[in-house]
Every structure is written in C-alpha cells, then in structure tokens.
C-alpha cells in the first residue's frame, strides 16, 4: 500500500509527498501535530495539515531567518525567538559565538517535545547553555520587555490559529519596545504568489512599516512551502540591511552554510516587480 500526505496549498492546488511511515501524531491545546517520514524530504513536521519543516530543505528557512540579521549586526548578544518550537532557528543562532543569550518563547510544549524526540536535526541545540525555553504566549511574554534584545525573530506559523496574534500591530509595537537601539526584528512574512498568503504578507509588512523606521523584505526559495517563493521581513531601528551590511565576520561559520552567502544576502532583497507592487504603501 502506498501512503501519501497531501497539503491543500490552496482550494485548487495540492502538494503530495510519498510517506514511509507516520512517526508521531499528537494534539495539543493549540493544534494538531504530526511527524511523518517521507521518501523525498526525510522527516517532516506537519501542524494542522501544513508542512512546517522538512529534513531536506529546512536549512534554507533557518539560515535565512538568522544569518541576514547577523550579517548586518555581527555584535548581537541577546536574541529572542518567538515560536520556532522545532528548534531550527535556535540551532542556527547557537552557531554564532558572539551571541550570549538566546530566549525561545514557544506556546506549545508538545511541538518542542515532539521535535526533541523525532527531529534531532533541528532540536539538537536546545540544550546549549545559552538557550532558555519559555513555554508561554509570545504576545504576553514580550509585553513587559524593554530595551533588552538586539534581535527578535518571529518564527511563526501562518496567521491562523495560535500564530494569529503574532501578526498584529500591538505585537509589533511591543517588539519595537523590547529591542535595543541596535535592534533588528526578522519575521516570517508569508508569500506573494497565492492570494491568501499575499494578503497576509501585505498586512504584516504594512503594519511593521508604520512602526519601524527601516522596514524591508527579502526572499528565499523554499520548495516545500506553497509556491516555493517566500519572504522574511527585516525591520530595524537604524540599520539598513544592504547599506549597513558589514561583510560577514564569521568566516568559519559562513563556510558551513548551505544556502546563505554574501551575494545571497544582497540578492535576496531584490524583489520582482509584482512583489514590490504588493508591498507599496
């Protein structure tokens, strides 16, 4: 018998991967969590029917959500990850020796436990001594923080279910407040291609643009996400991602990247006209 997992990328588009086995299935207070083993993509984390992380291409997402900010400010010391329960973003941050403190705020302990049990490729650095995991709602966590973090990464699911509040203006305001003067915020900013994703991309980008003096978007190729064409937002209090790019200090780190490099850093901010048009104020 053949097993296939199918993601309904839109009402009219399906993406299917052939499955070796269903490794984990759980339901938390927030969402349905599944881990499958697939022929093409290795182990895959699926939340509420949406592909979150695959062993084959998670490096693209996780390098791009972290390295761009570190290329602009190589002196980041205190980093906050909101969401990202699989641990991949934290794993990348631990690779930078200058970072002293990594806080991860994940609302759902079931995601973290399942990742620790079955996705060692992303969760492998959650025990790094610089890492503290808080099982809390990121929206509440951030409220009383002030001038503390040099970097906030909003590593959220789509703005439905528990991820919804992480796309709100009040939340972005709190992130601004929680950042130092050197502060950078990077957020999962959806995709320009299918209308449902594009609507959320525009909304998030516009909200952030009202709060942060510098607000840009950069793209990456993520084959297992709908359309493969996805964006991160880059917002900061004073650094421009291109003009203030320092050239990469961590040569050793850079030799080990599989996606990110200096050319990609700059090239990723070059957006197609149809995307620019959607992001116009």
């Amino acid at each position: 018998m053949e097993l296939w997992f199918t993601e309904n990328q839109t009402e009219n588009v399906k993406f299917s991967m052939k499955v070796k086995g269903h490794v984990f299935s759980g339901k938390s207070d927030f969402q349905k969590i599944d881990i499958i083993d697939t022929y093409e993509f290795g182990r895959v984390l699926v939340i509420d029917g949406w592909t979150m992380v695959t062993e084959k291409d998670e490096f693209i997402y996780h390098e791009m959500i972290t390295h761009v900010a570190l290329g602009v400010n190589p002196n980041i010391k205190r980093a906050l990850v909101i969401g990202g329960g699989d641990g991949g973003t934290v794993r990348e941050l631990t690779g930078f020796p200058t970072i002293e403190e990594i806080h991860m705020v994940e609302i759902d302990p079931v995601v973290v436990q399942a990742s620790k049990d079955y996705l060692s490729y992303t969760s492998c650095k959650l025990n790094d001594p610089r890492v503290t995991v808080y099982y809390e709602d990121g929206i509440k966590y951030i409220k009383d923080k002030e001038n503390y973090y040099d970097l906030i990464i909003v590593d959220s699911t789509d703005p439905i279910g528990p991820g919804e509040g992480l796309f709100s203006e009040a939340f972005y305001n709190d992130c601004y407040k929680a950042l130092t003067e050197e502060g950078i915020m990077v957020n999962q900013c959806e995709s320009p291609y299918y209308p449902n994703n594009a609507r959320e991309m525009k909304r998030a980008y516009n909200k952030i643009g009202k709060i942060f003096p510098i607000c840009k978007a950069y793209q990456y190729n993520m084959p297992t996400y709908a359309s493969g064409h996805w964006l991160f937002g880059f917002a900061s209090k004073k650094y421009d991602p291109i003009n203030d790019f320092k050239g990469f200090k961590f040569k050793e780190k850079l030799e080990n990247t599989k996606y990110y490099n200096e050319e990609i850093h700059k090239g990723a901010f070059a957006l197609p006209n149809y995307v620019l048009k959607q992001l116009e104020k």
Copy 2:
C-alpha cells in the same frame, strides 16, 4: 465531479491543480500535447504530462529568459529562439524595438498551432513582421549558421524526448559558431533541488563552460515548476552579465515588466551555496 491534473514531479512528489475543463488534446510525431483550463493558474500547456506554461506565472519564465541578455547588450538585432513553441519568448523579444529579426525554430507544429488556437496570451506576437517561424529540428537548423545571431535562446523542454539533443555539447558548439562576437546564449538550465533535475543542470552547465569563455547561471522563482527554484544559463563570448550590465535602456519596456527589474538582474546571479557547489567544475 472534480477534475484534477497531477504532475509527478518526482517518483515521490506530486503537484495537482483543479481543472475546469480539458481544452485540447493532441499527439504529434514528437509528444503528447494537452491544454487545460484550471481554477488557480488559468490556461495551462502540458507536454508529455509536464507543465510547460501557465497563464498565471509564465511572465516570470518569459521575462527572465529574455530581459537579462537585453540588459547586457541592448543592441541585439538578430535573435534566434530554439523551441519555445508557445510563443512567450518571442512575445517578449518583440517588445524590444531594437531587435530587427526574430527566428523561432520549433520542431513541433502541433505545439505552435495549439498555442495559436488556445494560448493567445503567449502566442499573440507570432505574427509580428519581424518574426519567422521554422518548423525544423533546432539541432540541424543551427549547423550551417555562422557569426549571425546576437542572441540565441534555448527555450527547451527537459532533456528527455525531443529536447534531449538541445542539451548536447555538439549543439552548444554550433550555437557558439552561430553567434556574433557580441553573442549571448541563454538556455533553460533545469533546477538544483530534485536530483533528476540537478543532474541535468550540472551536465548542461559544465558542457557550456567548456565552450564559452563566460558561463554563468541565474535563478528565478517559478511556482508551477517542480521545487519552484529554476535556473537559466547565461553564456557569452565577451560580456559578463553583471560587470557589463548597461543599466536598462528600455525604460518604457521596463515599466511594464511584472518580474524583471534592475535589482533582480543582479540579484538573480546570487546563488545559494548548495547550488554553487553543484556548479563547481
């Protein structure tokens, strides 16, 4: 009843689009040609079960296969398109007033006729007075041409079936000979993500690199092709695609592009490390 068309992107990956109707079905001496009307992507051309062109995103492919060369040499006068029977590449070329002669060599008249009948969005400029269509094998056509074309675009299907010879060293050699000293060749160069595509990408790129003094690759996001992450090859006798980029002369043309712009021109040549590694000699 729901109708779905499914492309088997690999043995273990399927991509499916919901279909309104089956508009055309034909079999030529070379291949099976279908045109479907879909909810998400509009009219779609399918050859031997592979998605070739969709109404929603063909602009990405066709702008990127043409504009990059024109940005480097805005004085291109004679252009040859090998393959490209849907007419989209020719349509883009006719938008440049400096081009005097456009030859399209397509082996399969059934593709061209079906495109004329059902895909007016790509075939709309095949009657431009500067365009001549030859129904011939591109491999034979190119053999006796010398120092004639300023631009050759190899707009081929994958290297299986009739497209196979368009990935051979002998063919690239003939293209080199057919080009003027200002000559540029752009070719459909597959994708780095799935192993089958990546193997062909590497082979084509290595062959071209042996013949042309300048051989580069640039990427574009094509959501309806497997993985969404695809490359074109840029080969030339003397022009470097970045250092010799002229800044775009055709401002009016450029205002109408939906994907290509000057930043994209440069950014597209920034390739991820895992792609660069595959392209190393």
